[in-house]
């Protein structure tokens, strides 16, 4: 029987163990500290400063946060962006993840032909640059030369067409759905991988018991991939609250019309880097970024305490 790892390390001289740890963990810790922890801490530190026209910075404590959440000039756009962000997230949770699960379920059906082709095609948009995605959808939905209007007309639904990207009522949901279209491949792949891990014996046993594919999926497969689904939800949450690029590339930093598509990412960008005549305000921008960080942290904590601990995992 081979010696267990803890025994080996226990017998090792201290210095050698430290050297070994440094060798294996050092690079990751150094890189993570340099590119993740340091910028995070520096951003938080910067959010407690303010700068005057000459560029000199002075410490103001939590004043930036007080302004951000207490002064209507800042809090109104902030809550608007947060509200829009929640809608953006809700659309992803209600559309992207169920569709991803359904696609994964279909892909894992036995006897499916061209499986690799479907998998690749459905994952392809995820690998496209967001600028290309934004540009293509802008063209598809364009009331001037888009195919959307013509396609709807061809099936007799021409009256349903509207310049969705330009209307206050529909712009945000349209953009959310574009983002769903782009990223649906990720939940699909993760869940598909989890589905593949389910032992065939379980499926075979269910089939012997007389279950059809549909019930096998809902009663056997779905419960077994729940941990992956909750992981996907968390990834979606983090990605959505950090989202920025699609909105920026389609609607610009002013996220119109009337800030209907403004999410925390674009609000942060406008604050930090400015827009046209609005000068960038790095200290206030850092405050926005810090608040975004805490929103995501809060979401993750809720998940860890209320969901993660209740998930039952099955060992096969």
């Amino acid at each position: 029987m081979p010696e267990s790892v803890s025994n080996i390390t226990a017998q090792m001289p201290r210095a050698k163990l430290a050297g070994l740890l440094l060798f294996f963990l050092g690079p990751a810790v150094a890189i993570y500290t340099l590119f993740s922890i340091y910028p995070l801490v520096a951003t938080m530190a910067l959010s407690t400063y303010t700068s005057d026209p000459s560029g000199a910075r002075s410490f103001v404590g939590l004043a930036n946060f007080k302004t951000l959440l207490g002064d209507a000039l800042w809090s109104k756009p902030f809550w608007n962006a947060l509200g829009n962000n929640l809608i953006f997230f809700a659309v992803h949770m209600c559309v992207q993840n169920p569709v991803g699960i359904a696609l994964a379920g279909l892909l894992s059906l036995p006897g499916l032909r061209l499986r690799g082709f479907y998998r690749t095609v459905m994952f392809l948009p995820t690998m496209l640059s967001v600028v290309i995605v934004g540009f293509s959808w802008n063209l598809i939905l364009s009331p001037l030369w888009g195919v959307a209007a013509g396609a709807l007309k061809a099936v007799g639904l021409g009256s349903l067409f509207a310049p969705w990207l330009g209307l206050e009522s529909s712009a945000l949901v349209t953009l959310s759905l574009i983002s769903v279209w782009q990223f649906v491949g990720i939940p699909m792949m993760l869940i598909y991988a989890a589905l593949l891990n389910i032992p065939d014996e379980l499926i075979d046993a269910a089939r012997v018991d007389g279950l059809g594919q549909f019930r096998i999926f809902f009663h056997i497969k779905l419960p077994l991939v729940l941990p992956t689904i909750s992981l996907v939800s968390v990834l979606t949450f983090v990605a959505n609250f950090n989202a920025f690029d699609l909105i920026y590339s389609v609607k610009g930093a002013l996220a119109g019309p009337n800030f209907a598509t403004d999410i925390l990412g674009t609000f942060f960008y406008r604050t930090f880097f400015g827009n046209q005549l609005q000068l960038g305000n790095p200290t206030m921008g850092s405050a926005v970024a810090t608040v975004m960080f805490f929103i995501i942290l809060l979401g993750l904590c809720l998940y860890l305490f209320f969901v993660q601990r209740r998930i039952r995992r099955y060992a096969f």
């Binding site: 026209p53 560029g55 000039l73 310049p163 990207l165 019309p257 827009n275 046209q276 005549l277 609005q278």
Partner: protein, 420 residues
């Protein structure tokens, strides 16, 4: 072993020599920061070679960023010490802030600065007008460009008054061949810059109204501003279908493909249209509201160039800036980029007929700059951002002209206290 050591030594010496060579090349070279990536070709093939005829030893690299990212990218590079030697200056506060942070040097001492009027320099001066920190390059004029074929087909002539303008739009709409007026609101700034700021100066009397806004004698809720909003609100029925989702690029394409009759234009569009449109074009200044006699045009000082205070090669940079003040540069620039009009006092002959028409308005109308640019967009909420937002909403019919004026003035009142 010895041999490889020697070889390594040799390689090192070569590398050092290479480095030294690079360093010496550095001495006479300049890098230009700019947001005009559309013009990179013209800078590289016309402007820089013309400069090099006088100074063959100064190597110049034109290194533009995308317009949307320029301010952010430039600030980051200036703060990080990696910005180029010459900085293309946005008008007013963006550049003023750079000067206040000691990232731009004053240019008052340069030869040829007296070649610019005070109005031309205003966009790149301190509030007291005592220090200038960028050499003015060009301004852009707003107005309307039209498709001459469309006008001939429908039987129209250039409208001089708003009444004639609306009659022409009605006629075009009835005819149905062309989109009467090309403008979209998806990007928001079109409605503000080519809508409100384009037809507005006739209502608020150009510089008079602009100065009165700054001094607090006029408010954006005053009738002249509401009237300008009412005018752009009346455009909606003449715009292309789904104009709420029509981007600026869509508008440019719609007009240059010959599908639109009148295009709410900035003169900077001319170069784009010259490359793409196959039909004859004309231009007319903003039609005048009933009861006005003087005409005003938005002749907006838009582009200038200054020297990075941290540049290692300020002497050469200054030589370049001094060359920018010469008629030689103005002539090249005006003709290579029709629609960007030099600001120097010496008149320049513009060959492009549409550009010549537009710059000709300077003789008959009074010039003014956009009223939201100087001082008034310094606070939060930012007046220019607000103006984009409300102008687009007014055209979309989502906000009444009165509510638009009120929102702008309320926003301004929150932080701006005019000097008494």
């Amino acid at each position: 072993m010895r041999r490889t050591f020697k070889a390594a030594m040799g390689a090192e010496v070569a590398a050092l020599a290479l480095l030294a060579g690079l360093a010496s090349a550095q001495a006479g070279s300049l890098k230009i920061e700019s947001w005009r990536n559309d013009d990179a070709d013209i800078w590289n093939s016309k402007i820089i070679p013309a400069f090099n005829k006088h100074y063959p030893d100064i190597k110049i690299e034109f290194a533009p960023s995308a317009p949307k990212e320029y301010n952010a990218a430039l600030n980051a590079r200036l703060d990080g010490g990696t910005a180029g030697d010459l900085i293309t200056c946005r008008p007013f506060d963006a550049s003023l802030a750079l000067y206040q942070k000691h990232q731009l040097d004053p240019v008052d001492g340069l030869q040829g600065m007296d070649n610019f009027s005070d109005v031309a320099k205003a966009a790149w001066q301190t509030d007291d007008g005592k220090t200038t920190f960028c050499v003015p390059i060009a301004s852009v004029i707003a107005g309307f460009i039209y498709n001459k074929e469309a006008f001939a087909k429908v039987g129209l002539s250039e409208p001089k008054t708003l009444e004639e303008f609306h009659a022409a739009l009605d006629k075009l709409k009835k005819d149905g061949t062309y989109v009467p007026l090309v403008m979209g609101t998806a990007d928001q700034w079109e409605a503000a810059t080519m809508g409100f700021q384009n037809i507005g100066p006739d209502y608020w009397k150009g510089e008079t109204g602009r100065a009165n806004l700054i001094s607090g004698k006029e408010k954006l809720t005053d009738p002249q501003y509401i009237a300008a909003f009412k005018e752009i609100a009346s455009w909606a029925p003449y715009l292309g279908s789904g104009f709420q989702a029509q981007t600026y690029a869509d508008s440019q394409n719609l007009f240059s493909l010959g599908k639109g009759a009148i295009y709410a234009a900035g003169s900077w569009d001319i170069s784009t249209f010259r490359g793409q449109a196959k039909f004859a074009m004309g231009a007319f200044p903003p039609p005048q509201p009933a009861g006005t006699t003087d005409c005003y045009i938005s002749d907006h000082t838009d582009i200038a160039m200054g020297v990075n205070a941290a540049s290692k090669n300020k002497d050469d940079a200054k030589k370049f800036l001094e060359w920018l003040t010469t008629p030689e540069f103005a002539t090249i620039y005006a003709n290579a980029l029709p629609g960007f009009f030099p600001l120097a006092k010496t008149p320049v002959k513009v060959d492009d007929d549409v550009a010549a028409t537009m710059v000709g308005w300077r003789q008959t109308c009074k010039s003014t700059i956009r009223n939201s640019y100087q001082i008034l967009s310094r606070g939060t909420p930012n007046l220019e951002n607000e103006l984009w937002n409300v102008s687009a909403q007014v055209v979309n019919g989502k906000l009444t002209p009165e509510a638009a004026g009120k929102q702008l003035q309320d926003g301004l009142d929150k932080w701006y206290k005019p000097a008494k």
